[in-house]
């Protein structure tokens, strides 16, 4: 089914093959309309005005949270904190929970598959507190090595942080199994869902993790909004992350008390328009159905992997297509990923080249960078055709006899 027509940027550029949705997705018209509609009809500062317009803004913000919580399978919607995105959500946990609960000699475990946003905050927490920082290795087929993880966690492990889906390889991790290993030693379970929420049914309540972070802009929503879902007892026991308006209850000269969830973690004027846009994005994806989204992407990944494997000198990284979301990471012998990206761009094919904010993973793959094509709801076979055509062209250009 051709969904390009739903996306104004794609509809206006028929020759564009946008294969960088893992970096950010394009936005459907319904999302843009929802945000514009909010500003044109309902805009005011929520939570404080004693007038009808502010009450409407408050209601829109509340409704957005209801929609997003339902989309992610969160029954207790006050445990969904809106943040700027995954990065802020993970920093919130590492800072607010971490500083209060991690000390010298404690251990933190992350995996070698992590994006820097789920690696560096924990590394820095360890450096600041004197905790020991461990990186769980991968298996040869680029899955988290669960046997190694079992051996790595101890009674001193305070946090196990890992992604649901790898941004660099598309690997879908067995969240419940990893969570069970972490639970076995009483560690906090933190899951980076930035690359999962756009592509599959999250079902937070059934995942058995303590925290789940996600970004709106990768799932058809606007940039600048995302969230953190946490378990209520932990969120209530945690100190706040930032201080200011909205998050307080009473401010005395010598101390303050905090508002209830979710406001305790949402200091300052909330990002209502983007929350409204994100809710519209959730409705849009629900209209397709997340199972259909994943199936659509996997079919394209299967096709792309097959076609790419047919190009001599091309190497595809990561597990088999049935074990990933819509990402194909690859290198071409003799042509650096940056050169590939430039050449492909000339053919209207947008891919990502680089370390994908996953330098620890690149080191383990023994590459400095890879090229990455990523698919989404609006991608189709013509994008795969264009990718393969452009790769053949790059290969030919670099194979020309020189000197």
């Amino acid at each position: 089914m051709n969904r390009r027509a739903d996306f104004p940027l794609l509809a206006a550029n028929p020759g564009l093959h946008y294969l960088d949705s893992a970096a950010t997705s394009q936005k459907p018209r319904v999302v843009l309309d929802a945000m514009r509609g909010y500003y044109e009809r309902d805009n005011a500062n929520p939570h404080r005005g004693a007038y009808d317009l502010s009450a409407r803004a408050t209601e829109r913000y509340h409704d957005a949270r209801v929609t997003v919580a339902r989309f992610l399978g969160v029954a207790d919607m006050d445990c969904l904190i809106f943040t700027r995105g995954t990065t802020e959500a993970l920093n919130l946990v590492a800072t607010a929970w971490g500083r209060a609960n991690v000390g010298a000699g404690d251990e933190i475990v992350v995996t070698a598959l992590e994006h820097h946003a789920n690696f560096v905050p924990w590394q820095q927490l360890a450096l600041a507190t004197g905790a020991v920082f461990h990186v769980c290795p991968l298996t040869d087929d680029h899955h988290v090595d669960l046997a190694a993880l079992r051996a790595l966690v101890t009674a001193r492990t305070k946090v196990v942080a890992f992604n649901h889906v790898s941004n660099a390889l598309g690997t879908v991790n067995p969240v419940r199994e990893i969570a069970a290993i972490a639970r076995g030693v009483g560690a906090l379970v933190v899951c980076d869902g930035a690359q999962a929420a756009p592509h599959l049914q999250v079902g937070f309540d059934a995942l058995d993790v303590d925290f789940y972070a996600f970004s709106g802009h990768k799932m058809c929503g606007p940039m600048g909004i995302g969230g953190l879902v946490g378990r209520r007892p932990i969120l209530e026991a945690m100190p706040p992350y930032q201080f200011g308006g909205d998050m307080i209850e009473f401010v005395r000269d010598d101390h303050s008390t905090w508002n209830v969830l979710p406001h305790k973690f949402e200091a300052g004027t909330p990002n209502v328009a983007d929350a409204v846009g994100l809710a519209a994005a959730c409705d849009y994806l629900d209209g397709i159905g997340m199972d259909a989204v994943l199936e659509h992407e996997r079919a394209l990944v299967r096709l792309a992997t097959e076609r790419l494997n047919g190009i001599e000198g091309l190497r595809v990284y990561g597990p088999k297509p049935s074990e990933r979301s819509g990402v194909v990471s690859f290198t071409m012998e003799g042509v650096h990923p940056h050169d590939l990206a430039t050449i492909l761009d000339q053919e209207g094919v947008c891919i990502r080249a680089g370390h994908h904010c996953a330098q620890p993973l690149m080191r383990r793959l023994n590459v400095t960078s890879t090229a990455r094509a990523s698919f989404y709801v609006y991608s189709d076979e013509s994008d795969v055709d264009a990718l393969v055509r452009a790769l053949e062209k790059a290969k030919a250009l670099f194979a020309e006899p020189v000197g």
Binding site: H336, H338, T342, I343, G354, H355, S369, L397, E400
Partner: protein, 148 residues
């Protein structure tokens, strides 16, 4: 010539495939490393400076064709030149890849193989690839102990 062929001229592809002055330099007097944090590309430049001139220079790199070729051609261009001349070549090269210098045929002849980088100007995101080896060379020169 298309923009792409202009960027990937055969001189650049050749230096990418067979980089000159590649590897470690014995008796280097100075060394610097450059990194592009956006892509993780790295280049290392080693120098031997004698009497305020670059007596020898070698490099190693892990990066794209543009950065490898730029490093390779740079080592050929600056070898034997005074430190001041090398600085002058860098500013010419920088003007070339940023599009400020549009060389006449005569100027292009003087630039030699460096002129092959004129196509970079039409690919703004690649300017950094071409200029990183030169910045690294400058860093290595700055580390050089002052002449006695």
């Amino acid at each position: 010539m298309s923009d792409l062929q202009d960027l990937y001229q055969s001189i650049i592809l050749d230096h990418n495939r067979r980089p000159r002055n590649y590897g470690a330099l014995d008796e280097a007097t100075s060394r610097a490393e450059g990194r592009n944090p956006l892509c993780g590309d790295e280049v290392a430049v080693e120098l031997k400076v004698e009497h305020d001139a670059i007596a020898d220079v070698r490099f190693t790199a892990s990066g794209c064709a543009v950065s490898r070729a730029a490093a390779s051609i740079m080592t050929q261009a600056v070898k034997g030149k005074s430190v001041t001349e090398a600085g002058h070549l860098f500013s010419q090269f920088h003007d070339l890849v940023t599009g400020k210098l549009k060389p006449t045929p005569d100027e292009a002849r003087k630039l030699g193989e460096m002129a092959a980088f004129s196509g970079v100007a039409r690919f703004p995101v690649r300017v950094k690839c071409a200029s990183m080896p030169w910045h690294t060379l400058q860093a290595a020169l700055r580390k050089e102990p002052p002449a006695p």
